[in-house]
């Protein structure tokens, strides 16, 4: 009787060891293949009808209330301002201001995503021959390291840059119409693996490839002499099914 109980107990321990081993092997395989454990877990939860991983919760900003401004952290302790349902940054004529959003990137299931920026206006605020325009950070560690998609409304260029320790490496560029400065712009930036594609009003305008930064924050940046206002920002993961 005593012997029987012992055998039964050993069986459970062995089962537990096998289960733990399988779990550990699964985590290691996910790690090697570059899929985050969180992504796999959330996909499983969603497929079972749950909503434990609501990725858009922290990544959708309509800027209709001041609470939408809280998640954006600047490099100079300034806050975004709310004007007529838009988030605005006013340049000081000296240097650009970046606002990164760490909570959004943490809530995303993967580092492949699409950033949509709607109803963007860029006006010249200071007349001193410094740049005017609006930029978007992605996969940024901080405001000195990451990727930037820039719209320069003074020179009428869009560019992808890689920033390393504050040093700028140009990835690609394109001249854009000068009348962009007088209209509301709708940018979308698809970030998928090492390929980045920028769209304006649904039309692809610029592409770049680089694999140096694989993760990081999203953010926005206003050039020194402009006032940029934006209606909506939303970030959604690009699923592998969408890109097939």
């Amino acid at each position: 009787m005593r012997k029987g109980k012992t055998l039964s107990g050993q069986g459970f321990v062995e089962y537990a060891l096998i289960l733990a081993g399988v779990a550990l092997a699964a985590i290691l395989i996910l790690n090697i293949s570059g899929v985050s454990v969180r992504e796999a877990y959330c996909k499983a939860v969603v497929s079972l009808g749950g909503n434990a991983c609501d990725e858009n919760k922290d990544c959708s900003f309509a800027f209709d209330s001041s609470s939408d401004l809280d998640a954006w952290e600047s490099n100079n302790d300034n806050k975004l301002s709310l004007e007529d349902g838009k988030a605005c940054i006013t340049g000081d004529g000296k240097s650009a201001q970046s606002y990164l959003n760490p909570s959004c990137s943490k809530s995303l299931l993967s580092d492949d995503y699409s950033i949509s920026l709607s109803d963007l206006t860029v006006d010249k605020e200071v007349d001193n021959n410094k740049n005017t325009g609006f930029d978007t950070w992605f996969r940024a560690k901080d405001d000195q390291n990451g990727y930037l998609f820039i719209y320069n409304s003074r020179t009428n260029y869009v560019r992808f840059w890689k920033i390393v320790n504050g040093k700028w490496i140009r990835l690609s560029e394109k001249k854009v119409p000068s009348n962009w400065g007088n209209q509301e712009l709708d940018f979308k930036i698809d970030v998928k693996g090492d390929t980045f594609i920028a769209y304006q009003d649904g039309e692809a305008i610029l592409q770049a490839r680089d694999g140096a930064y694989t993760e990081g924050q999203i953010g926005i940046r206003n050039k020194p002499s402009s006032k940029s206002c934006i209606g909506d920002i939303s970030v959604e993961n690009i699923s592998s099914e969408e890109t097939k």
């Binding site: 062995e14 096998i18 081993g21 399988v22 290691l28 790690n31 390393v164 700028w168 490496i169 140096a212």
Partner: protein, 145 residues
Amino acid sequence: MSLEDSPSLEDFSDDFLSPPPDKVDKKRRFSLILVSLVLLIVILLGINFAQSGAYAQLAGKGSLSGYAVNESGDAIAVEIFIFGTDITGLSGDDGYFEIKNVPSGERSVIIAFGDIATEKIVILDAGGNTDLGTVTVPTELEIDY
């Protein structure tokens, strides 16, 4: 069933019942699964380690050198960064730079003049020197500050 078709006593000479499962065999099967799992985990851990920065450190170090010039071919003083590490360096006014103790393998070398930089991807051999040759660094590029 007729009496003739009934099994004879000889048919039950071994036993009425099939033998109970061999507990030793069951334990052996468990042990085999466990050992296979442990082996798989060790292999996966090895692959993970091979992909890590720690492996690159253990794999050995090399050095790289080169000359930095501007678009006109004139020597310029530049800063050098090895992407993903804290390793940095400076060239002399003659543009020559040499960076030692760089982890071997594929490395991204950032060569910067002021705030403008260019990037070279190199394969660094452990224990050897990788010569980048003459590297043209853009100095007149417009930056979107």
